[in-house]
């Protein structure tokens, strides 16, 4: 059943998306501005990208950010998937309420609190702040996002598939890797991507957890923004947006293809 899509509905969706996207579009356009003034158009130019690539500080920060992102997203995906399995599959174990609390609370916890508390932990443990501490901090807050994404897929999972596999003699571990994992894989992949982008974008937690020598790109951008708006920052932001957009679009295309393939397989199976 498809209820009518009234003019009011269309207008609110169009205006809403305009509000969401216009600022980003403007930012991207002005990164190609020839003028040093960010808000006055002076012709098309890619000079800010050129000057960005000759800025060693930015390049170093970008490299740190990518390494932190790849490492933390991977560990966070493993831990987050385990947490999701624990929440959905094991409904009774000691301290489950505390556990689910610790999974959901970081989603809304103000970043300044998370950042401060992690910093004080690292200081208390006598750890030097730098690459390792930022990575640990990012694993901690992104694993909870992974857990929520994977959990929502696991909840709708048809467990009779697993039962069938086990009845046919597969061990539980084998069942997990051959039956469960392929089904929840799209959720795990989007969980990884979410963790990666959250790590790529984080300013507040990284500022607390990082030390000299491990400046991330958002920290670099923030320190530049405080000095004033420049087209170079627009260029840096545009590239960051570009990386994320390419990733998200690639993932959704891959997802769609897999879905089509799955439907074809199902039809083939039904035809026998």
């Amino acid at each position: 059943m498809n209820p009518t899509w009234s003019r009011f509905n269309i207008a609110s969706v169009v205006l809403g998306f305009a509000f969401l996207y216009l600022p980003i579009v403007i930012l991207v356009i002005f990164s190609f501005n020839a003028s040093r003034l960010v808000t006055v158009w002076g012709g098309f130019s890619t000079q800010w990208y050129v000057s960005l690539f000759s800025n060693q500080g930015f390049l170093d920060a970008a490299w740190v950010t990518i390494r932190v992102g790849l490492l933390s997203a991977t560990v966070a995906t493993i831990l987050g998937t385990m947490a999701a399995l624990a929440l959905v599959r094991y409904t009774r174990f000691r301290g489950r309420i505390l556990f689910s609390g610790m999974v959901f609370a970081p989603l809304v916890m103000p970043e300044v609190i998370t950042g401060l508390s992690l910093l004080l932990l690292f200081v208390a443990a006598g750890m030097d702040r730098g690459f390792v501490t930022v990575t640990l901090a990012h694993i901690t807050f992104t694993m909870c996002f992974v857990a929520v994404v994977v959990q929502s897929r696991l909840v709708s999972f048809d467990r009779s598939l697993e039962e069938a596999a086990m009845d046919l003699g597969a061990t539980p571990v084998k069942t997990f890797f051959q039956v469960t994992l392929p089904v929840i894989l799209p959720a795990i992949v989007s969980g990884w991507m979410l963790a990666f982008t959250l790590s790529l974008d984080d300013l507040v937690i990284a500022s607390f957890a990082s030390g000299p020598g491990a400046t991330t790109l958002p920290m670099k951008i923030y320190s530049q923004v405080r000095l004033g708006v420049t087209p170079e920052i627009n260029a840096a932001c545009t590239m960051l947006i570009g990386v994320v957009a390419i990733g998200v679009i690639a993932a959704s295309i891959a997802n769609k293809r897999r879905e089509v393939q799955r439907q074809r397989d199902e039809q083939a199976a039904q035809r026998g």
């Binding site: 209820p3 009518t4 899509w5 009011f8 509905n9 269309i10 609110s12 809403g16 509000f19 969401l20 996207y21 980003i24 403007i26 960010v38 808000t39 831990l79 987050g80 385990m82 947490a83 624990a86 929440l87 094991y90 301290g95 505390l98 556990f99 689910s100 610790m102 959901f104 609370a105 809304v108 916890m109 103000p110 300044v112 609190i113 401060l116 508390s117 004080l120 932990l121 200081v123 208390a124 901690t140 694993m143 959990q151 709708s156 061990t171 539980p172 571990v173 790529l200 300013l203 507040v204 607390f208 923004v225 708006v229 932001c237 960051l240 947006i241 994320v244 957009a245 998200v248 959704s252």
Partner: protein, 316 residues
């Protein structure tokens, strides 16, 4: 939760030697993330609490430790200093910052709901073939950096920025509006940045709704607006609650938006904490600020968790 059976914890060994492996793996699946979160999420709060009770010192780290270890912690209760908390009550700066943060977060949440609801409603009523694309379009900005999205508004809201250029070229105004570095800019920043958090839960509860109920009401002569308040809105209430909590709680402790868009005189507690820590290097006071902020937010956070757990079970 009612359908829980013991087999969830100790699965019956379908395969002869699989039982032991299964028992070990199930324990590992729970224990590894559990221990991780204990160490990196829960224990840090106790450290923050401990440091909030210590004295400020000019050293590295810049405080005098009150206790070493747990046993010592209880042994030295008499030496705890509540000076930092007293300090927070004596200086009006702090409680004003708390109140202002709650107020700004509350007002922004209201406006986010006001703007987000029609969007979510429009999306839910869109043709089914269009909905996945629309959903994708709401999620996409969520993947772009928070910092970048806030930064984008500086160029728009500046006195010589694009909004003023636009309005002046249309002769709507003849002197530039001062928006950047005011509270209005903070509201715009919060509404803009958190809008997807509001739209997503609203959309998911509106999409599941059975519209034949509204049709039935209309057929029986109920005017559309009344039908909305009597049927649609109450049914979308879980989405409203989740959306408001997802916006309100982080907005109270927001740092980036008041720092980049707000004025110097606007006090929000996240910014105060940041300044205490990075500018004044006063770790004990910033810890005390964090503990009070946490206490203020503990009720909404528990409510959020309760709601999450409930919706998770409903999906089962």
């Amino acid at each position: 939760m009612a359908d829980t059976t013991a087999s969830n914890v100790e699965p019956s060994p379908r395969v002869e030697n699989g039982g032991l492996i299964q028992a070990i793996t199930s324990r590992l699946v729970i224990a590894v993330p559990y221990v991780w979160l204990l160490v990196f999420f829960l224990i840090p709060f106790f450290i923050v609490f401990k440091i909030s009770l210590s004295q400020t010192a000019i050293a590295m780290p810049p405080y005098t430790p009150v206790a070493e270890g747990v046993s010592d912690f209880f042994g030295k209760i008499g030496q705890f200093s509540f000076d930092n908390y007293l300090w927070l009550t004596e200086d009006p700066l702090y409680y004003r910052a708390y109140l202002r943060s709650l107020e700004i977060a509350g007002i922004s949440t209201f406006f986010t709901l006001l703007i987000g609801y029609p969007i979510a409603y429009g999306m839910a009523r869109a043709p089914a073939s269009l909905r996945p694309t629309l959903l994708m379009l709401v999620i996409l900005p969520f993947w772009t950096s928070f910092l970048i999205r806030v930064y984008a508004w500086i160029g728009i809201l500046k006195p010589e920025g694009l909004l003023n250029q636009f309005l002046m070229s249309l002769n709507i105004i003849d002197t530039p509006l001062i928006i950047l570095n005011t509270d209005t800019a903070i509201y715009i920043g919060i509404v803009y940045s958190y809008l997807p958090f509001m739209v997503l839960p609203l959309y998911s509860s509106l999409e599941k709704m059975d519209y034949t109920l509204v049709e039935a009401a209309n057929d029986l002569g109920c005017p559309p607006l009344r039908a909305f308040w009597k049927i649609t809105f109450p049914l979308s209430l879980p989405g409203v609650v989740a959306g408001c909590l997802l916006v309100f709680i982080p907005a109270v402790g927001e740092f980036v938006i008041p720092d980049l868009l707000g004025g110097k005189e606007t006090l929000m507690i996240g910014k105060t904490l940041w300044n205490e820590f990075f500018a004044n290097r006063d770790w004990p006071v910033s810890s005390a600020v964090a503990i009070i902020l946490l206490l203020l937010l503990v009720v909404p956070i528990m409510f959020f968790q309760h709601y999450q757990a409930k919706s998770q079970e409903a999906g089962r």
